[in-house]
Symmetry: C2
């Protein structure tokens, strides 16, 4: 099929209507990475109104052999949601899902919800809350990230310890496949063993195997009681011992077990107004612990207090939140880490996970390795300690950064050093952010040939022309 | 490659040694369905000692174009674990995993365990308990079902409401692929977003895409407190209202919410010695409710009692278990349903799931439909009501059964009637048992062409010669 754009563009425009078709300079917000790190190039941006328009757009692209990029809220941490063009490659058609935003159905008895892909994660949370239920996936960008994108990237966040990743919260999908057919897999069942579980292929595939137009999701009972503490463990090893103790005492009511090192808290307190250290003295490691369940606050706070008393020597200080406002204050510190780091300098964020027992070794070794490469860096650490997912951050003063002759080479040297340690400890170099365009080199380097071969075989089977989100996930 | 068995058999024997090679009559236990419903035919049975032997066996079979069948504990409910030969097809080599039975590693801090595929599910549960942890998948055949088979079939059971299916409890897999290569995917991480999640393809594929040699699994905090009640709801609708009420009050501590109708309980009490009705009067519907958490029995029992008081008119009677022995007695009734039904006559077990709100309609309509076809049947119902998975059973007196001229045709008529209702209500006709050889017709009939096409494409990609567990899952 000949790639005749003069023919394609009017046909695309006809499907969505002129009001929902953008080209040239109007595409800038859609082709620019949200932090402004790079921009790509698109043939055009189309904003379909419904799944039928999506399917028509896909069929048209496939007929023309034209690449396409499914786009949600454009909040990818690794450049997955904007075009990335290999040399001589054709710019893709961006199919933006923002207009598919119906909450289709909520079933509180069945604890399930069916929503269009373009709803934001926060809108899904709110819809669940309106019927006294919880949609349990929660992360920083939830106000603008779309649910379809969160499924396509298997988003993680702060609730994984208790409720799992996005994958664990998906019951069914509606997907436009690369051949233009629509797969209606919108089940709401907890159990369905009728052949291969096809939805799993599209979850976390970052739009490279199909385009998600709607999802059905699990809901949970909405917790009515909350208890939080800000805790100083004696060491990172003792933090892990405290995690085990908390799980022993509180079982499934443990919601979050987050960690920030001294440098990370300092960056937040220095640069984000209105926040103060919950503890009287700065400490090496800070833990934010949250319990929630269907009892009441007083009962749950008593339980958390008991755990902290039992912790004895494992901790040197602790502050229990005594009000809803204090809980919110604790979470505001946690959610301000990116802002704090950004204002401190150029930051390179790692998204690694290692088996829990290896977390202290990983932090010590990675910190030493990056300082050996560039002694002037600061190394804030923030992480979902409960599930072993650590965001080690390398911050370089803006002044130093601008004086570097080969800044990208320096970053790559530090990446290589950290990932070598991760690999040795049985960990992963992308725990929750995905691959996008930014980690293609790592895919090539750290994935076994067996895995790459399998992934490529699946890609070739589902998308033989290689048109869906080209240049992402799989290295060329 | 020419199918030269005279060459293949000695080579297979040489890999495992003569003591672990069976042919002819010795293969009977391995080719016979465990209920004795049918038997297949195998070229031979080999029992490898380790994954290297498994890989060598697979490579040899692939070189000879010889079909092979990965076999665990042979407890499949749908004939997936014994050979099924299309006409003129070659009998497969059965690779039995019983000798791969090491508990490789338990990590209580990380809440994970790594085990060989041939360990039984009960052995994995015991290993977890030995370090004060819970492996949460539990089902009737757990004493003989192997963990590899339970992963290959995505086994369900009584813990799904709280802990999910087997799929939700798998962290990683080691798989011998159809090209003879070994994929080491034995992660223990809670988060890993590095490309397509390959393990998902093999979970629930019933050995048609690869052979699982080891798994890493999630563990949970082991509950220390238990509370149980045997409850008579006024109706099945009220049972669902009670489920919602229990979830509202008890959140994640709700472990099991099982249902038995009057006929089902009667079959158990009539035919299984040593059991008695927990309630003074027979009732239409019986619920078995279990809570568990890390508090203590008294506290949890008080909580359950409170829920039952709040239930008011939803229930007509209830018995709270006051001891560990009483809890076990309640569970013994639940786990004796197959025995009770078997002794009552020929039984046809359905394994359906529908959205919760549809359960009462499904039961009423399916019951009426099968009685319309054969008024003499009895219809016990037992189900995991909490997740909508209902085992409606059709029992036909042995005398009547033996007098039927076309018994299989009658069963098929009843299957068709029930599955038509399931399809209409948005349900599934195989919730937890899988497909095996017994539900191939239903795959053809109820799966959309889009899904069948996708599944066949995946099968052809991974196993282009179609050698792995031939005749299963996908209709020809």
């Amino acid at each position: 099929m000949s790639p005749d754009c003069s023919d394609l563009i009017p046909a695309l425009r006809a499907i969505v209507g002129a009001d929902h078709f953008l080209e040239g300079e109007d595409t800038t917000p859609y082709v620019t990475e949200w932090r402004g790190r790079f921009r790509g190039d698109a043939l055009c941006v189309v904003k379909p109104a419904d799944r039928e328009q999506v399917a028509a757009l896909v069929r048209l692209c496939v007929q023309h052999g034209a690449p396409l990029l499914p786009q949600g809220g454009n909040t990818s941490m690794c450049g997955g949601s904007v075009p990335y063009l290999a040399e001589h490659a054709r710019p893709p058609v961006i199919i933006n899902l923002a207009r598919l935003r119906r909450i289709r159905r909520i079933d509180p008895l069945n604890n399930s919800i069916e929503v269009d892909a373009g709803c934001t994660v926060a809108e899904v949370q709110a819809a669940a809350a309106s019927v006294d239920r919880l949609y349990a996936v929660s992360f920083g960008a939830e106000g603008s990230a779309q649910i379809g994108g969160s499924v396509a990237t298997n988003a993680g966040g702060t609730g994984v310890l208790r409720y799992g990743n996005t994958r664990d919260n998906v019951l069914g999908l509606e997907v436009v496949l690369p051949d233009g057919s629509l797969w209606d897999g919108l089940r709401t069942l907890r159990k369905d063993n009728t052949g291969y579980d096809l939805k799993q292929m599209f979850i976390g595939a970052e739009g490279t195997l199909g385009l998600i137009t709607a999802v059905t999701l699990k809901l949970h009972p909405r917790p009515t009681a909350q208890a939080m503490a800000w805790v100083a463990p004696r060491s990172l090893d003792d933090a892990l011992a405290l995690l085990a103790l908390t799980q022993d005492h509180c079982g499934a009511s443990l919601n979050a077990f987050e960690v920030l090192n001294h440098t990370q808290l300092e960056h937040v307190l220095t640069h984000v107004p209105g926040l103060r250290d919950p503890l009287p003295q700065p400490v090496a490691w800070n833990l934010l612990i949250e319990l929630s369940d269907r009892s009441d606050d007083a009962q749950l706070q008593a339980r958390l207090e008991q755990v902290l008393i039992q912790a004895g020597d494992l901790i040197t200080d602790a502050a229990l939140a005594r009000s809803q406002a204090q809980c919110e204050q604790f979470w505001r510190i946690r959610s301000s880490v990116s802002e704090g780091n950004k204002k401190s300098g150029m930051s390179l964020v790692f998204d690694v996970a290692v088996p829990l027992i290896q977390v202290p070794a990983f932090i010590a070794r990675a910190d030493a390795a990056v300082r050996a490469i560039c002694p002037a860096v600061r190394v804030p650490v923030v992480g979902h300690l409960g599930d072993g997912n650590m965001h080690l951050v390398i911050v370089i003063d803006w002044a130093l950064w601008q004086s570097l002759s080969e800044p990208q080479a320096l970053l790559q040297t530090m990446r290589d050093a950290v990932y070598a340690i991760v690999a040795e400890l049985g960990g992963t170099w992308s725990a929750e952010h995905g691959i996008g365009r930014m980690l293609l080199k790592e895919m090539q380097q750290y994935k076994s040939p067996v895995e790459l071969k399998l992934m490529r075989a699946i890609k070739a089977t589902l998308d033989p022309q290689g048109l869906f989100n080209p240049g992402k996930v799989l290295p060329a």
